[in-house]
Symmetry: C2
């Protein structure tokens, strides 16, 4: 085999020169000088990629991961025994307490291995078996690619779910299933951002997926500030000002991102504000991107209900183009790892929809496991179904635990010196503001870090609790926040740790005695 | 509730004006003229998106979908009873015959619903239960986000798999699990394409993911032709010529895409060619993207073995940066719907790897279902394990059926007038060349379609078999091919249909009597 000889001679050649540096090597073999490989460095890469920031899995999360490895050593020398990842809305992660919903998991197990039906037919509820059979008859194997927009039957189920939620008809062809909401957001931003100074209005604070995708696709972020003193409300005045500023700067506002319920704020939009936003977007021909992934995380639905933008747009009979996102990662399903979600197109022409289809087809299809998760989320067991009582208990518990923890955490944080925290009526987070002592600001400056990063790093070092500094979401100059999830089990003990740390921190930097 | 009143008044307002066109409406309400929404049209979108082409799910696939719906009508009037999707390598799709591997599916079912272990503990093999327990201890719930690069244990398993394949050590930190190989390819092309006329060398014919991603990220495709007369071999001369042409045109060749085993050609690279390619890329500081997703689809491994680029690069002790892709969608696993795969970084600095990590973290994590699929692919049952005999039978059957079908299809296609077909030693496809009669070329021109599209559309209309025209992959001017998968069950009947159609087509357009 001639190639084996060639390989061998190369090996000999390289082992002879192994002690020479690359440069020595090139000099010693003049004829190979032109062959010297330039290594791949960050400066060779797309500069847009360098600009991307994503704090949720940034410096804090990376350090937390390193500490987790350190904890595996019995003599770890750390003042805590475990890492609590409050940096990410990941309800089913190890150590947290949101259990998956049994109905969806039994259906999923049957889809993975259909012969299981024979084994569990007298053990598992009949509606589980029936749902799995229905999905199997439609899909066949979960190992096959589905339609690139998602399984037609599941898109029909989504359409029905939205119809029942909003009271307006939905065309299943307007539904695109996705691998989590993020995949859809990223694709649509890539499509909406043109090379002609396209701007996208984003709330501040925002979920950093938006700023990251804007950096990646070279779109211009057009920030509008939410009002913390007013419960993180959205102000038309702020959006209008952001549009005017963009137009003055020569940028074209193409789209408006609204996160409702808010992330990281937990705020809920009221109907009147939503109407005004729709009118404003009509006026300026702006596409609405409605991130509604927390629509079922409502802690006081009677006083703070959720309204979808779809419903507002339809009731106003507005022609404004709207993309609405939902996900199985949040809510009471909390199935982040399956990567399931969808977006709905409203007032989008067939032509544009065909282009979206083309783009999703390059990625082949969303994961079937996520698609099945979507089906179970939008078609849960109904009263009278054998799985209903357990489903009801499971989802009620999850709702109640989240609401109770959110309330308690906000109360106790608010009682601390130098912390104020808007009590959030929705989503999974709190976004407390911290008044940092001058000495802490100076120390942060010395370390070349933002002050909220200093605070969050010391919190992690002292307690093992990983949060995300407010600078990752955006905040007003001179203000300092952090985002933490309300998913922790043992909330009393957890808040004790937050409190103790805060008081020590304030003492250390001379704000209290 | 004030907002309800507002909504109502808007409804009345719109229903009063419902009979007016948008323009009439604006004229009748002068003050609202500025408010008239411009609808979202394709010309408002990122022009790069408009340029994207993806033939595998293009015109033919869309028409096949419409025909499938038509077939549901008892009086469909079509000359066939079912659609055969030979356009896409989707082994587990309905109507095809590649069954999933039992071991992986039983593990997956246990991961979905861990209490199932109690039910099946005396029914399912012990190694299935042990693997599921091991993965569960590491992962926790499949409903949780994993590390953005993938579950550490599974990355270690991948590293070991590659070590055993190639004989060189692998750092698990160089492994990124992905949602299928496509997700990784797309991300890395986005990172490698800079705004300064970045070019990427792609084979012609190629898998259209590459041309689609280049269009999406505004990279310049630098085609190099494979040699059909030489069994679709890769010629250094062609690659060198493409580099020289690029440099003359002011483009910078950043990366070289190699698909091995080839898609759509099924060709395998020999070691000597691979060595030369590595040297050439070193010489020009070009990154290699090695698409090796068909590495286990080998029809005659003794005479046509697979070598990984990783092994060549290591044996040459080459510093060339290399990204190697693998997937669970092909091979004998064929688990397309799970969306699982990985890429390995070779000669990539920590700094660049950290940037890749940042980018994948924005997408949170690959689907857990796909990650578990990767684990079962790279760690299959071993001789002596209770699942081994069944696993061996299942995988042997799949290999044998694919090899036998590929050989038979190529033989019979080659026997037809006007068709020549390279017998492929790997992958899942054939890419026959068709000499089309002048009358067919004229008819295609009249219809504004490429001649291979005309041929493929008529094939679909007559037989229900959906293939992809060669123009979707690229071919020399004046040549016409199509790609079809070798996944069909009942291969004799299937080839009969291809033959009958071809002879009728050639008669219809006057090439034979």
């Amino acid at each position: 085999m001639p190639f084996a000889r060639t390989a061998l001679s190369h090996r000999r050649f390289f082992s002879k020169t192994a002690s020479l540096s690359r440069l020595d090597f090139s000099l010693a073999h003049g004829t190979r000088l032109a062959h010297t490989m330039r290594p791949l460095t960050p400066s060779d890469l797309n500069p847009a990629v360098i600009d991307v920031q994503y704090a949720v899995r940034g410096e804090l999360a990376i350090k937390a991961e390193a500490l987790r490895v350190q904890l595996e050593n019995k003599f770890h020398g750390l003042p805590f025994e475990r890492i609590i990842n409050s940096n990410i809305g990941n309800p089913q992660q190890k150590g947290l307490d949101q259990p998956p919903i049994t109905f969806g998991r039994q259906v999923a197990a049957l889809m993975e291995y259909p012969p299981l039906a024979e084994i569990v037919k007298d053990i598992w509820p009949a509606d589980v078996l029936a749902r799995a059979k229905e999905l199997r008859d439609e899909i066949g194997s979960v190992g096959a690619y589905s339609h690139s927009k998602g399984v037609p039957l599941i898109r029909k189920s989504v359409a029905k779910f939205i119809e029942e939620r909003d009271g307006y008809p939905v065309d299943p062809e307007d539904i695109f299933l996705t691998g989590g909401a993020s995949a859809g957001v990223s694709l649509l931003l890539n499509m909406l951002i043109t090379p002609t100074k396209s701007g996208v209005l984003i709330p501040i604070p925002q979920y950093p997926l938006y700023s990251a995708a804007l950096a990646q696709f070279s779109g211009i972020p057009l920030p509008y500030h939410l009002s913390e003193v007013d419960g993180w409300s959205t102000s038309l005045h702020e959006i209008r000002a952001a549009i005017e500023k963009a137009e003055k700067d020569g940028a074209h506002p193409r789209a408006l991102v609204i996160i409702n319920p808010g992330n990281p704020t937990g705020a809920l939009l009221d109907w009147a504000t939503m109407e005004s936003i729709v009118h404003l977007c009509e006026e300026h021909s702006i596409v609405i991107l409605a991130d509604e992934v927390y629509q079922s995380n409502l802690h006081s639905p009677d006083t703070h209900p959720f309204h979808s933008f779809k419903q507002v747009v339809r009731r106003l009979n507005s022609p404004v183009p709207l993309f609405s996102f939902h996900s199985i990662s949040k809510g009471v399903t909390g199935e982040c790892g399956r990567r399931g979600g969808y977006f709905e197109c409203t007032n989008i022409s067939d032509e544009v929809r065909a282009l979206i289809y083309k783009m999703v087809s390059v990625g082949l299809c969303p994961p079937l496991s996520g698609q099945i998760g979507v089906d179970c989320m939008v078609r849960p067991p109904q009263p009278g179904d054998p799985s209903y009582p357990l489903w009801k208990t499971e989802t009620d518990c999850t709702h109640a635990a989240l609401a109770q923890r959110t309330k308690l955490m906000a109360q106790r944080l608010n009682a601390l010196p130098g912390i104020s925290c808007v009590t959030s009526p929705g989503a999974l987070y709190l976004f407390p503001k911290v008044e940092l002592p001058d000495a802490a600001l100076k120390e942060a400056e010395r370390l070349g870090k933002t002050p909220d990063t200093l605070y969050s790093l010391e919190l992690l070092d002292e307690t093992g609790i990983c949060v995300v500094p407010g600078s990752g979401f955006g905040q007003k100059d001179g203000e300092h926040h952090y985002r933490l999830t309300c998913l922790c089990p043992g909330v009393e003990e957890y808040v004790d740790a937050l409190e103790n740390f805060h008081l020590l921190f304030m003492k250390k930097y001379g704000a209290i005695n």
